[in-house]
Amino acid sequence: MSALYPLLIIAVVLGIVLNLAGGLIWVERRLLALWQDRYGPNRVGPFGLGQVVADSVKLFTKEDWIPPFADKPVFVLAPAVVVATSLLAFAVIPFAAGFVIADLSVGILFLLAASSLGVYSVVLAGWSSNNKYALLGGLRATAQMLSYEVFMGLSLMGVVIMAGSFRLGDIVEAQRHMWYVVPQFAGFVMFLIAGVAETRRLPFDLAESESELIAGFHSEYSGMKFGMFFVGEYIGVILISAMLTLCYFGGWLGPVLPGPVWFGLKTMAFICLFILFRAALPRPRFDQLMSWGWKVLLPLALLNLLVTGAAVLLLR
């Protein structure tokens, strides 16, 4: 029994995450179309929902091309890394009270660790492709992800000071009286920015800015291996949205409706916010992105931490 119960939870969690990641392709295209005053995919099935199935069948049956000039084992490994690491992070995400694969005492650190391993996918993809665009994109993506990873961890620590635990379940329960977005608003904004940069979503998609680098680190990828970078990006978006919900918006807590529904609604709202960013914001220059991160976000994150600490000390 003890082995079957976690297996069941893993199956449910992976089923939700993978299907949602596939479905987001449709959601994103429909929402972008809505905000840009056009139709989007609406031909296959009701509301164009069949597009999800059509796209995945297409990706799976496309040619599995590995460039002869590439470093083959590393080239195949890179897209697998992006999917595996982002799925791994969901091991500590609680969908409701007690509904979690493993409620580790180091939950937040585990999430940070899994996302720091995700950097490998872009480094390895950029290097192994042996293509100039891919290398430039890989370098940019790595520098960007490394920089924003630091601020991501630091901005979350304000929440941990207030909750006194790394366990995500405890953090949610500590928000019963007030969501942490109120006392930790600065931390929330910083984590949101770092999260967008970490998933390489617009406006921070400089690694694959199509007008200058074709597709950046995945220029040479096609078929399902390209699809895995795509799916990995969406899993990352779901992950960051879930973390925002858990750490700043009270997770599954909410009146009337059952916990998982609240969690799903809040997470979905953040996913839509990510898509709205893509529809509304232009891309900064790479040097702006880097110096802004180091010169503004890093001192602010440290300041936020010290102020939070001082406030906790004084108010007790």
């Binding site: 490994l77 005492s105 585990f110 660790a113 391993l117 950097v119 480094v123 390895l124 961890g153």
Partner: protein, 196 residues
Amino acid sequence: MAAVFYISSAVAVVATLLTITCRNAIHALLYLIVSLLAVAIDFFVMGAPFVAALELIIYAGAIMVLFIFVVMMLNMGEHAGETALDVFKPRAWAGPSLLALVLLAEIAALVSRQSAPLSGVEISSKQVGVALFGPYVIGVELASLLLTAGLLGAYHLGRKAVTREDEVHGIDTRQSRAVTGDPVVSAGAGRSSHAA
């Protein structure tokens, strides 16, 4: 759980051996990452989740990324291994391995004398923190000085590399320095007139 410990330990040992014997720098680093991940699982199993998470974040997630990043920047994929072939001559490895054998014997003696079983009791991050910021606080503060030294060192090494790189590639350093108003421009001009 002991089985998991031994399996991941075996993975760590094999991956480390492959790291040493692999010719391609990037492939060797990938094996090293596998080895570090396996060691992290060992820590988890032994009830030290905080250390395991740190191992993942620092070693696997930061230091190895920097290594790969540097190898990628320095363009040493296939040919890097050829210069290191001298390492495989007995003269190079006989001395160090003799010393390592002494260490191995010491460890074996220690381990055989007292065996700490896999207790499975978890050391929480709170206990780690209380130790760090209680009795070991001097070490923590010294570490911050070390980090500062690291910052300055990285800056000065990187700065020298910039000037040397410009000379090697023969780009017009004078023009770029003219933009920044660097005094080196006048020195360079003086040297060329002297040669003429």
